[in-house]
Symmetry: C2
Subunit: 183 residues, 2 copies
Amino acid sequence: MNSTQYVLLSLLAREPLSGYDMKQQVDGRISFFYKMNNNQLYPSLSKLEADGLIRLQSHEKESYRPTKKVYAITDEGLACLKAWVTEPSEPEAWDEFLLKQYSSWLVEPDVLISILETRRREHEERLNGYKEKVAAFREQYEPLSSDHPFFSTVAVIEMGIGFERSYIEWCSNMIGWLKENRI
Amino acid sequence: MNSTQYVLLSLLAREPLSGYDMKQQVDGRISFFYKMNNNQLYPSLSKLEADGLIRLQSHEKESYRPTKKVYAITDEGLACLKAWVTEPSEPEAWDEFLLKQYSSWLVEPDVLISILETRRREHEERLNGYKEKVAAFREQYEPLSSDHPFFSTVAVIEMGIGFERSYIEWCSNMIGWLKENRI
DNA sequence: GCGCCCATGTAAAAGGTTACATGATTAG
DNA sequence: CTAATCATGTAACCTTTTACATGGGCGC
């Protein structure tokens, strides 16, 4: 199972769609963190169907158009998707985690909270690592001149720090929201 | 020219290194946004050398060890790297932009400032787009239940908002710093 | 008539991942 | 004597990207 297949399952978990419609949705709605092309799309659909994770719901020939094949997710497909979403991701895999979060509505709030807490801890560790690196650089090489390699090294790590901070904040917001609305 | 080749140029712009040392540096220092393996490494080095962008500086046989091939960047290589760094990246390509910023010390501050300002503007537009999307969702579907697909949709866009914000802030910090230290 | 939209797909090439291969030395 | 480190590389596989192919209808 590759990530394209999980994306297709994620979309079909929401509503039945044709291959063409799935591509439209990916392009229009989640293109900022995932891109798909026809080459991955149709073979992935065939494989999902062969594995029994999706099934052909209708096969309409609308007048002149090519037969539109609308697929729906099966119970096995839904179980497979749920298992993938709750399975831990590596901290580097931003996009995989985002894809999983796109199906977080399938997961029980308590399970989701514990996933988010683990994730937050990992990113707090990374954040501290980056902070230490930058502090060491700044101490040793102050003042930094913009034509020195370390200027860029520090700049790149600063970007990492920003991302980790917003990641951690997002986890906290999600956890807070889930705990408030759990009762 | 693929991104691996630019990474190698970025490292050699800082100091002469052997293939093995480049891999060590990538693994140890910039692994959080870039990964490299031997398969890409050695063919890329050969190609860069064939294209005259790097040259073999020394070819030492230290007693028992395999001959260590230390490469240095050429003037053509430096020009090529500089051209790549100043060339605009698409807003989606985070990692490419980060790689380019790793060599930003080669670029004149004024040029770098204008690159960062363009970049910031692009991300401000994206941020506004996401904000509008979330507002529309929240207005239509309040209150959001955590077992409804839109809960996840909104969550994912919120993460995008966080990233865009930290990106914009980083650009602003860089621009501010460069302007202060320009005189 | 030209190009775009719908809707399915395929082929070829480039890029990336995993694992293996050599071969000497040093640390346990 | 086993495993790890240094240092080069190759082979096989998987994924991704780019482009093409079909074919009718619709707007300009």
